[in-house]
Symmetry: C2
Subunit: 200 residues, 2 copies
């Protein structure tokens, strides 16, 4: 991949984060990437092609920065609870790259209501994420029934999306969003724990 092609993709993420999927103008994108409009078409054929590739690119990037949670940075092995919190809270960082990625991803999610083409990619990513969270929860509450664990994971991820939308549109301060989510994790773990006890 040439430097310019990569520049177009990172530019696409930036423009989508700034103006939304439908607000993405090919001329803006070219300007953002510092190339001509012609080059955009040379590499990506047409507008839907740009969007498709941008999606994959943004998804990859999100995987990469959430993966750093388990990275070799931790000197002593982090406990499961911290791992779970990080997996979820990493979405709430006021770092330009993360915020940009979150915004673009949220926009794609919202856009998928009107564009069936996007749903497949989105559904797969969403399911994988629920499974990851459910994995952490199951490890923390080994006695809780599997159904309840999955439901808790679905609630936590859906809550995260709802909070993220409010944060990104400035309706909810970042720290408040993080606090609400942390509390929700505590509440859900508490509930799973009590379910486990009852089953004993």
């Amino acid at each position: 991949m040439t430097d310019n092609k990569r520049a177009i993709l990172t530019g696409a993420a930036r423009v989508i984060a700034r103006q939304g999927v439908r607000g993405l103008r090919v001329a803006d994108l070219a300007a953002e990437a510092g190339v001509s409009t012609g080059l955009v078409y040379y590499h990506f054929k047409d507008r839907p092609g740009i969007l498709r590739h941008a999606l994959a690119f943004i998804g990859d990037r999100a995987d990469r920065y959430t993966a750093t949670a388990q990275g070799p940075t931790a000197a002593h092995p982090p406990d499961r609870r911290t791992l779970l919190e990080q997996t979820l809270l990493l979405e709430f960082q006021d770092v330009p790259e993360v915020r940009e990625n979150s915004t673009a991803w949220g926009e794609l999610r919202a856009h998928s209501v009107f564009d069936p083409e996007l749903r497949e990619e989105l559904a797969a990513a969403g399911a994988a994420w629920v499974a990851e969270v459910a994995g952490h929860l199951a490890a923390l509450c080994p006695d809780a029934p599997a159904g309840a664990v999955t439901a808790a994971a679905e609630r936590l991820t859906a809550l995260l999306e709802g909070l993220s939308a409010r944060w990104l549109s400035g309706l909810l301060p970042l720290e408040h969003a993080r606090g609400l989510l942390r509390e929700a994790i505590r509440v859900e773990i508490g509930r799973l724990g009590s379910l486990g006890e009852r089953i004993d």
Copy 2:
């Protein structure tokens, strides 16, 4: 308000639900409402004006159909818990008008990330809604601290928005979404109850 003005607003809700905010073409809207494009500008000045009024209209409509929960239909007074559940679950109905309203509202919410003009109205509606839910919760758990009640209300409404987005894009079946939300209500009430006890 003239019939045609109202027709334009209901048409706007329908077109936004079908094509999204950015997919709304003034010509489409005029056709949907059965009027000329000129009339749209006569009543609403410009495209942003259409969106602003449509948002208010859709918000009002949502208030109206969630308000029926407390209506005179109930022979014996419904308990607070049922009232709370209905307030939240009424958003999840597969009735065309409700679905259309939810879709359009969700779209405007998502769009507000990129359009500061829409945020004020949205913030007010969101705050009122959190307050309503908090009111029900406070009545159910009179001993819980006010801060915890508000936080629970914020979580429940944010969760609802997250679940709603998934439902509307076909990623989550309606009944599943309802079940998850009902459970979340139970969990949050349980937590508020235990907080009340500790304070005694």
